[in-house]
């Protein structure tokens, strides 16, 4: 049977406890797997991949001129999270996203947290994604991050840690919805009896969130999704979400700003747009204000936002909250704005910007993970224990040249999960990206994207670098 020779190798495993016993919430899954042969499972996967490719559920690999589309590898053994564990995640995320939104309001208004010296002023004001243009500009409902994808990992003892807040344009939610559809085909009976919480309401919750932030609380606002275009790796997701919400998917060239109002070009002339769910980074939004060479943006968009005639989700300038240096201060934010202890812990972080931390980092480079503050997707990263001497020295130089741009963390543990591999089922490292919507209330999609590093021993889960995904089952309270 598939799991007969499964070895947790002493690491925290999602399905098996340290003593080798299957965790109770995985019992049904295990029994089902025991009835399947490797061949049967393989066959199911092949069918699914064909289906995905046919439906165009793909992502585009960067750096490939042809824009090769690949299916995001999908692993059929789902990750299962029991209700009580999920409750902690949910509470922790609501708390965290609330604090981040209060922080963003603060840094774009009175900057009390800086004046009270909880966070050093220069950390925020020097962040690459801080937008002084938006100081003292009010955003509808005072919400900045409407859609957040927070990356969680599990520590050695199984407690969840926040690894990263993605508060700009987090992607991946369409895979959650598609993976769920796939799982219903792979394990129909099991799915029916396991008591899995539905993820179907995401699109309508997202639309509700967008409508909620319409300027002047306008009823029946016109919402659109702004995409960089169909060459973008996440285009499939953009189109998927727009379709699910029943809103137009637009590119920058479809929009035009006239008299500080935004309109879209239609075959019947111009139509006013009230809310833009943008999947385009700040830099590209408006060539008049940010990158002048942007061909993807809308000239004049920023002026329309500043005039309060159109709402953006997420707001401009949220990047200052998911900067990796800011990350180090989120626990202090929670204490400051909410007077609470963080429900979800995070990874200890050393700041190269700080003199004491810097010398520690430089002394311990081979043991640490170094990250550039403003990069994402696994780019600009040094994994000390796995790096060559040259790489370590290269990063030493980079850190010394621009300390503000680097942080370091101890090597973190990713939990492992049984995953279908070539020969058999083996443990692979996984993370979890739940999706948070902040509108009239904060919704956490019960599920999320479980990314899995398909290479043995690897902890890089990014789809562009050999990661795959699993469906995530959050169970109902029994």
């Amino acid at each position: 049977m598939l799991l007969d020779h499964y070895d947790t190798e002493g690491l925290f495993d999602e399905m098996f406890a340290d003593n080798g016993a299957v965790r109770p919430h995985y019992q049904m899954m295990r029994e089902r797997l025991d009835t399947l042969s490797k061949e049967e499972l393989d066959q199911k996967i092949r069918n699914l991949e064909t289906l995905f490719l046919k439906q165009g559920i793909t992502f585009t690999v960067y750096g490939d001129q042809q824009g090769t589309e690949r299916v995001f590898p999908f692993d059929p053994i789902p990750r299962i999270i029991p209700a009580d564990e999920w409750q902690v995640i949910e509470d922790g995320l609501v708390q965290r996203i609330t604090a981040l939104n209060l922080f963003l309001y603060d840094v774009y208004h009175e900057q009390k947290i800086l004046k009270d010296k909880i966070i050093p002023e220069e950390v925020v004001l020097s962040a690459a994604h801080y937008r002084p243009e938006f100081k003292d500009v009010d955003v509808p409902r005072d919400i900045y991050i409407h859609i957040c994808g927070t990356d969680l990992i599990r520590d050695r003892d199984g407690s969840y840690l926040v690894l990263e807040d993605n508060g700009r344009c987090p992607s991946g939610v369409s895979y959650v919805l598609e993976n769920r559809m796939a799982m219903k085909r792979v394990f129909p009976q099991l799915f029916g009896s396991a008591g899995v919480r539905s993820v179907d309401s995401y699109a309508s919750d997202l639309l509700g969130t967008l409508q909620f932030i319409a300027p002047h609380a306008k009823p029946d606002p016109v919402c659109v999704l702004l995409t960089p275009g169909h060459y973008n790796s996440a285009y499939f997701e953009h189109s998927f979400l727009a379709r699910q919400m029943g809103i137009e998917i637009v590119e920058g060239r479809d929009l035009i700003v006239v008299g500080a109002h935004v309109y879209m070009r239609t075959t019947r002339g111009l139509q006013q747009v009230d809310v833009i769910y943008r999947r385009l980074d700040d830099d590209f939004l408006d060539p008049k204000v940010f990158r002048p060479d942007s061909m993807l943006g809308v000239p004049g968009l920023v002026s329309a936002v500043q005039a309060g005639n159109v709402a953006l989700a997420n707001a401009i300038g949220t990047g200052v909250a998911d900067d990796k240096v800011t990350y180090a201060y989120v626990e202090k934010m929670i204490k400051y704005y909410l007077d609470q202890d963080p429900i979800l812990k995070q990874v200890p972080t050393f700041l190269a910007w700080d003199e004491k931390d810097r010398s520690y980092i430089l002394d311990h480079l081979p043991e640490l993970v170094v990250k550039a503050a403003n990069e994402s997707g696994g780019y600009g990263m040094l994994i000390g224990p796995k790096a060559s001497k040259e790489e370590v020295e290269k990063f030493r130089g980079l850190i010394l040249a621009n300390p503000r741009n680097y942080i370091a963390q101890p090597v973190v543990y990713f939990s492992r999960h049984p995953t279908l591999t070539d020969g058999t089922v083996e443990g692979r490292h996984v993370d979890l990206r739940p999706f948070v919507l902040s509108g009239e209330r904060t919704h956490i999609l019960p599920g999320g994207l479980t990314r899995v590093a398909l290479k043995k021993g690897s902890i890089v889960v990014n789809s562009s670098q050999g990661g795959g995904s699993k469906d995530t089952w959050v169970l109902h309270q029994s």
Partner: protein, 350 residues
Amino acid sequence: MLSRVADNLYWMARFMERAENLARLLQASNELLLDGETMGSRSLNDYWDPVLIATAMEDQFAQLYPQGTVADVGFFMTLHEGNPDAITMCLRQARENARTVRDQISDEMWTELNDLYLFITAPHTLKLFQMSPQSVYDRIISGSLLFHGITDATLARTEGWQFIQLGKYLERADKTSRFLDIRVHSAQTGNALDSFQWTCILRSASAFGTYRAEFGGEPVAEGVIDLLMFSIDFPRSVRYCIRRLDGHLHAISGTPAGTYGNTAERVSGRLLAQLNFGCSSEVLARGLQDYTDDVQTILNDIGQHIFETYVLLPQDQLSVTFIPSADTQQRRWVELQQQQQQQQQQQQQQ
């Protein structure tokens, strides 16, 4: 609907239709070639040069294949990625246009189009092509027919559907008129058009059977022109296509038939009148090439006016920064944009 979406749907249909027509042309030429081989005497290139000339790719072909053979032409026109007008590239464009507006078309339409594209780009298709090009053309033609059929069976008759029809009929009218004058080039090099070549033309438009049923006997110029240019009921005749085009233009604008509300309607109405009351003797008196050139110019005009009416806004016509999303002239722009969209990706994928 969004102007760009209308534009994408229109071009999706045009490129699909273009791929299909190209496949028909190549298939017919190929058949001719097989017959030609048995005759032996004729210069085989006579059959292929017009194909290259008609698509204005002869220079590029000569550059890539200085010693070009007949087989090279077939590959060049079908699968060569360096030829922007090759069938595979038409299908890619059709698919790219469809991909941008996936939320506007039915899943079935997308699946069929994507399937066809995956077929033409698959490695085994190249092998298949080398062994039996006809079966590759068959697949493309049936794929396109299936696509149009699925479109008719699954898509609501909204504005988007109307734009798809515009693209389909405009492209089809253009291609039929080109098939008509494609052999004129070889005629000018000294060989008179014989029934053999008219047969090839009819086959390119799937009109051979219809011709036989209607006119009987070996094809002659008058009959072929009457069928392909002026037939009121043959679905690939220029007149038929323009009649449909005119109908869809009026359905979009809501202007009553027989009147016009924009230039595209005016020009298409005038062309329709010309075709309604034209005949083959008039064409031959004027010269076939002259006549078809004229028709093609008007078709281009209609395309341009559709673009200006529904895609370009008054503001855009004043500024030069807006570059349309359609044909080959702005590939450069598309490349730049593609580059930025990918830059996006690097920062965005988290």
